[in-house]
Assembly symmetry: C2
Homo-oligomer: 535 residues x 2
């Protein structure tokens, strides 16, 4: 046992690996429409014409319209320039949009949607395009409306901590901005260097500060939204309390752009903690991970800011693929690792609480070994282990990724049951490289009941896919979990919504969709099964 006591103050920033887009030198992926042949282009949508592009050029400045269609006043853009908007960073999805619009103002977004609504042109809103479920790229020839050019901070009030900004602001920039005034954004995630706050809100992003600061449904105070018909919904309140009518903005949190486009955001930034400490602990069983979590909840309550875990298989991939920055901080190998972060305002108090907690969990045998950060670079290193797991799995092989919520006691059973199933089917053998599946690994946010299950295959194949789905979704439904904790539905999970929501809920969602977007132009083919036409 070698618990190190922290000896000095440290800054709060933890640098996290950026989510890089794969290089285009890789063999290009198939079109989404080819990979999902069951998806048919909705014939009620208009096909883009050069007149449409000319119209958009009247609304926007010339450089803000990219289109492979030439117009009398401008030549066609090279298809290559549209690629980044048509594809996702994992290279899983590839759309065929011929027009990318990059408005600078809410008024321009309104004019675009008004036109698209009238003309029945389908639209995909796109933020930082860092999603994992194909929600932010087109399937067929939808127009892409990128929020890249809407990236201004509108106001910040240091008394209340309320930040008002454009939807296209990058999360990390916002966090740096409020940090200068001793505040912190209430969410943080691996993609922070690229993702937009509007995209975070539209996907109801969770991330690693969720345990401390809770849901966006609580911290978002107001939204400015352009509805599918171009109406600007002005709901950009900066008040913590407001009980005047239906809280309409809530519907757009997690709607993935299917009800309108979020253009402005009002969000509470809490006071920024002054000190941070991170421990990585070696744990012998998932049972002990749970016990450690309960103990942390009871003893570090007001200062705990993250409780993450990963398994041995995740650790092995990180150590193999995440470069020299990734080193195992413990002397021995463990089946499970726990990362606990505390964030507070008085170092001596936090250190004392953390030390007492660690002594207690080791005395009780929940934790076998552990290290406590003693400086900022150790904090970075410890977080690096956790945050590079996603990258490391992708470097190990094509990865089937599942982001699910499961009650804590059953959380890891999904990994075990999936391993067992793949073993029984002859697709996987632990420790062997001769099978279709190389690794079945689990990690995630224990504090939020949120598991990331990753299945690393030799190659994407129908055999592996059909072994995993709908098995995993059925397992989730049987355990009262959610098939998407924080990644959303997008294209990938839309067909499986029924595993998390019952008929009355899905029908009500469809009624809202029909009400707000009667022509269905907003981010089609995704999120929600289309309502059956009864009238």
């Amino acid at each position: 046992m070698h618990l190190i006591r922290p000896v000095q103050g440290r800054p709060l920033t933890t640098s996290t690996p950026s989510l890089l887009r794969p290089t285009t030198s890789q063999a290009g992926p198939a079109l989404t429409s080819e990979k999902y042949p069951q998806l048919k282009r909705n014939p009620s949508f208009k096909s883009l014409t050069s007149e449409d592009v000319s119209h958009f050029r009247k609304i926007l400045s010339p450089g803000s319209v990219l289109s492979t269609l030439a117009t009398p006043d401008a030549p066609a853009t090279e298809a290559e320039e549209l690629h980044a908007y048509n594809s996702d960073w994992m290279g899983k999805y590839l759309g065929q949009s011929r027009c990318i619009l990059r408005p600078k103002t809410t008024e321009q977004v309104s004019q675009i949607l008004q036109y698209c609504h009238a003309q029945r042109l389908a639209v995909v809103p796109q933020g930082g395009n860092t999603g994992l479920v194909g929600g932010s790229v087109p399937v067929f020839d939808e127009v892409v409306l990128s929020l890249n050019n809407m990236n201004k901070i509108r106001s910040f009030d240091p008394i209340s901590g309320v930040l008002v900004c454009d939807a296209g602001c990058v999360l990390e920039s916002l966090d740096n901005y409020v940090a200068e005034q001793d505040h912190i954004m209430p969410l943080d995630l691996g993609a922070k260097g690229s993702c937009h706050i509007g995209g975070n809100i539209s996907t109801n992003a969770g991330g690693i500060r969720y345990l401390r600061y809770g849901s966006l449904h609580g911290s978002v105070l107001g939204l400015e939204v352009v509805l599918p018909d171009g109406t600007v919904l002005e709901n950009l309140s900066t008040l913590r309390k407001d009980s005047t009518g239906y809280d309409i903005k809530q519907l757009f949190i997690g709607a993935e752009g299917t009800l309108g486009i979020v253009t402005g955001v009002s969000i509470v930034a809490p006071p920024r903690p002054k000190v941070q400490t991170v421990a990585v602990l070696g744990v012998d069983s998932y049972e002990s991970v749970q016990k450690t979590f309960i103990a942390a909840k009871q003893n570090l309550t007001e200062i705990i800011s993250a409780f993450e875990f990963w398994d041995r298989s995740s650790m092995n991939m990180v150590l193999a693929h995440a470069g020299t920055n990734a080193r195992d901080p413990l002397a021995d190998e463990y089946p499970f690792y726990v990362l606990i972060e505390t964030s507070g305002f008085k170092k001596e108090h936090d250190d004392e609480k953390f030390s007492e907690f660690l002594e207690m969990v080791m005395e009780k045998g929940f934790v076998t070994d552990g290290v406590l950060s003693e400086n900022a670079s150790q904090i970075t290193m410890f977080w690096y282990l956790r945050e590079t797991i996603a990258e490391a799995t992708v470097k190990t092989g094509p990865t089937y990724k599942y982001d699910v919520s499961i009650p804590v006691p059953q959380l890891y059973n999904l990994v075990l049951d999936t391993r067992q199933r793949l073993t029984d089917m002859g697709l996987y053998k632990e420790g062997s490289a001769d099978y279709a599946v190389k690794e079945v690994t689990g990690y995630g946010h224990v504090g939020d009941s949120n598991l990331h299950l990753n299945v690393v295959a030799k190659e994407y194949s129908p055999t592996v896919s059909s072994a995993l789905e709908p098995f995993i979704y059925e397992w989730i439904a049987n355990h009262k979990g959610s098939i998407s904790a924080e990644h959303g539905l997008g294209l990938m999970k839309a067909p499986y919504l029924c595993y998390s929501k019952g008929p009355s809920m899905i029908q009500t969602m469809q009624r809202f969709k029909q009400l707000m977007d009667p022509h269905g132009i907003m981010n089609p083919y995704k999120y929600l099964p289309a309502a059956e036409k009864s009238a």
Copy 2:
């Protein structure tokens, strides 16, 4: 200066004065329909018949239907027995319902609404009936659906802190229940001994723990709701993270029963703090109240659980009318009082932080004098001062009550400007009892930008009413505030919604209302102006 250091541990419960209904010996108030002659009964609603009552008697057990209409199988109930359901605790509103239904199950609620929907019978859902804006009592002859009999705890998970219960559970009972397992309800308010959790959710209640635990939009995980046509919306998730489709439940938080009836609730209870400390501070100006707030936010960040203030006028009324339990804890009189509460888990740490904070704010001159609780009874006494203000104003005279949100820097200006206006109009003179208005007083939750403005009159009169309204609502609109921070709209504020929400928002609300409740049977005449019929 006499700061007392705390010397012993103390339990966390602070007993709060109960909101007692006024005795019926007072002269009965006029019918709401007489006080608001502009309200007309909607002729499309059916008038209750004894056949309807017979039908309800088939759905419910005999004792669960109170009706002044006799049926072949049961005699009429005395009108007196319906009084408590037809009137509010302040005696401001009086309805004329002839039928009270008290279902015990969600299935019964569903059957009732299915029938009312088909028959066009208007319905008022009623929880603890502790509201302040006339939202929970009928205006004309609406059927009252009381949730009194739905008061069972369904489950509690001590690992996640998730409580699932019937909507009719009393808030204080729930808090006592989770306290046994070391958890705390994320909200607390003066009416906790009577109010229902379903009513809290339907009115988006705030209260004194809001600063610490935030909005119900964040802490409610799921709701079971019976829609106006009787459909049961099953959305009783117990997961902290779930990003599968529109977050429909959010619409019912604060909808005041106009979109359906909340019958079941899933809510996160945080770990219950083990130690609590309360200080009452004497402050010379509202400017200094603000400075004290900012200092508290920065120095007590993770342990602060309440930051309340009240003015001298409030203190005077409390000392005059709140009995011998109310004693001024400070030697001198101050224009403003601040109450700060911290809740934490390690007494030495909290004490040290609180002491350092108090030394700092006194050294800087923000605070002139103060006392720190040294035992549980002092905590109770300090809170008693703050929590009896509402009662004390009502005992002083008929009170016009406004619950509003205003950005912190302008918060108290509303009190000053209202005093000035009433003075200019010859309706008020500070310190004199010879005018129509006796007191204009302000108190509330500074930490949440939430002011309670109370205007105590000699009697309710059109002169005073018209001096106050729409003046106050216009003032709020000009200062980008909200006309209802935490009390909702009900009957009282429905006409003034346009001072807080713009046309696009109100129109969207009306579209949702029309979609969910096409016959408008749910809690009519309140909340939202009826949409103008265009088709």
